[in-house]
Point group: C2
């Protein structure tokens, strides 16, 4: 479509909006050395490479209360932000944490949020320093993070080559299933009445509330010579296609390698009336790492091979050689 | 008062709330080397010192629409954030800019905000790189920034010594006067009907919408051997008292040195029914730099001497030797 100054923002994809903003920005004296990637990378004092990323989570858009406790919001904000640093093959070093919160909330909410941040760091990225942040009164709960990291040679989305191996570390589809349960319960969905939160159902809810990105595997993959990396925030199909587009290739995933993951979410078919394949291929917010290795490389423990890189074709991602209709999530358009 | 988990947040001062959060946070492997200051400072790769700061501006709390255009919001967010880096005596290097915006706003709003960021950087801190940021749909307009900077030896709030000279670079009271005009007009205040936006009235409104912190003077003051620095965001009295408390001294400001600044805002007495001294001493958001130099130092051009450092007494800030009742602004309690 033709974009004009009067175009409503929800008529455009998030990536178009970001491109519009980028045009306005000055490159300055320390320009980012990567484009359209998970985090920025710039060479600063003494030739060190600084990796930076920032994330904003807003009530009603990225989480709902009280299904998310303040603890969950703090945990998730830190976790998703650190995930971007890992996706550059970098080691996270520091975090700045920002909270906007209504004046009539209590000290318990503040403490809960801070403990969520603390526990996410201790669990996912021990050694990272929380340097401070900002605190503001706000009508909505707003939770934001900026993280920094260090890296010798950043791993972008752009290095995949035909013949390479596609691997993944983390869950797939769990966080999206968890979100559907939480929103369904909130809406009083009769199919969810009396749902027991056990086994993989509980795991799905936990994955939505307190994601566990494999932060250390980012730097470990870099040491193992990974060719390309991305964290899967918007679904395997969409983020896989982003990596494929950046690299100028197509990813061919083997359906057999994903079948077990779909079986784990088999209950979603009757409980949530959704195809587990949709969850595994398009469900966002699992924040696993999608990595592409040379065929003779040895992926670090925690990565599972899902397929191979082939020459660029019409599609970014194939499933056993065939196009997939799974699209994943666009934050802005909300679809 | 006694603080419990059930205490409402607006019963506490912002600094108490921040102290509660700090207790929860891990110091990690790269701890910040300054406490309770304008920005964090940590030693990272190759021994370089990284300065970081983040600011959140939220609709209804930090700005109102349409009195603030998207351009103004972008400008102000970048400007106030860069000001924190300057207040450590550091040179800013990079910015991450975050916008939360309702889906039904248009591309013009997005572009306006981005241009405000661009022009603030070009005007106040040319050479700073905008590395990216985050963009999210939100029911409220949210604008946030994180900036990084570099410094050899950070300038804290804690170095002032009795006998030193107190100097200031920037406006005082203008931004607070501008806010009162904007809010008064919005409320239909009859005293403001037909107010001509000329001279210092226009300057006051501009100071509120698009503050101009003297970013380069932070690093210049460091080169000149400044002993202590703070940026004045919450008013001269309050931020002066912060610097005084950190240094264990009292600042004695000379009323004659501030009289001219009060005269510039003389119109506020009848137009806004407010004492210009209240604006100059307690008006926030001017984002000038309050600096303390050794008596034989030569403050860089742009600084004006306002008084002297004396032994710590009962008060943080005196006005010609006498206590002042001006308090300045607490963001959280909103008073």
């Amino acid at each position: 479509m033709k974009v004009s100054l009067g175009t409503r923002l929800d008529e455009l994809a998030e990536e178009q909006l970001v491109a519009i903003l980028r045009q306005a920005y000055p490159t300055g004296a320390h320009p980012t050395e990567v484009a359209d990637d998970d985090a920025a990378v710039a060479t600063i004092a003494r030739g060190s490479r600084l990796v930076t990323s920032t994330d904003l989570l807003v009530e009603h858009e990225d989480f709902v209360l009280p299904e998310f406790t303040p603890y969950d919001v703090g945990w998730k904000t830190a976790a998703v932000n650190l995930s971007d640093i890992a996706a550059m093959g970098a080691r996270p070093t520091g975090l700045l944490m920002t909270l906007g919160i209504p004046r009539d909330r209590t000290v318990a909410d503040l403490v809960g949020w801070g403990r969520g941040v603390r526990d996410a760091v201790a669990t996912l990225a021990p050694g990272v320093s929380v340097w401070g942040g900002d605190l503001s009164a706000s009508r909505l709960v707003i939770s934001a993070a900026t993280s920094t990291g260090e890296v010798e040679i950043p791993v972008t989305r752009a290095g995949a080559e035909p013949g390479d191996v596609v691997a993944y570390a983390g869950r797939l589809g769990f966080a999206a299933a968890g979100l559907r349960i939480l929103l369904g319960e909130r809406a009083g969905d009769p199919d969810l009445r009396g749902l027991e939160r056990t086994g993989t159902i509980r795991e799905a809810i936990d994955a939505q509330l307190r994601p566990r990105p494999p932060i250390a595997l980012g730097a470990a993959a870099a040491v193992a010579g990974v060719h390309a990396l991305i964290d899967v925030s918007d679904g395997l199909a969409r983020d896989g296609a982003r990596l494929a587009r950046s690299s100028g290739v197509t990813l061919d995933l083997v359906s057999g390698a994903l079948a077990g993951r779909c079986a784990d979410l088999g209950w979603a078919r009757h409980t949530l009336n959704i195809d587990p394949w949709e969850l595994v291929m398009a469900g966002g917010e699992d924040y696993g790492l999608l990595a592409v290795f040379a065929p003779d490389a040895r992926p670090p423990e925690g990565f599972e091979v899902l397929g191979a890189v082939v020459e660029r074709g019409e599609h970014g991602v194939l499933l056993s050689g065939r196009p997939t209709e799974y699209l994943g999530f666009d934050h802005f358009a909300g679809r």
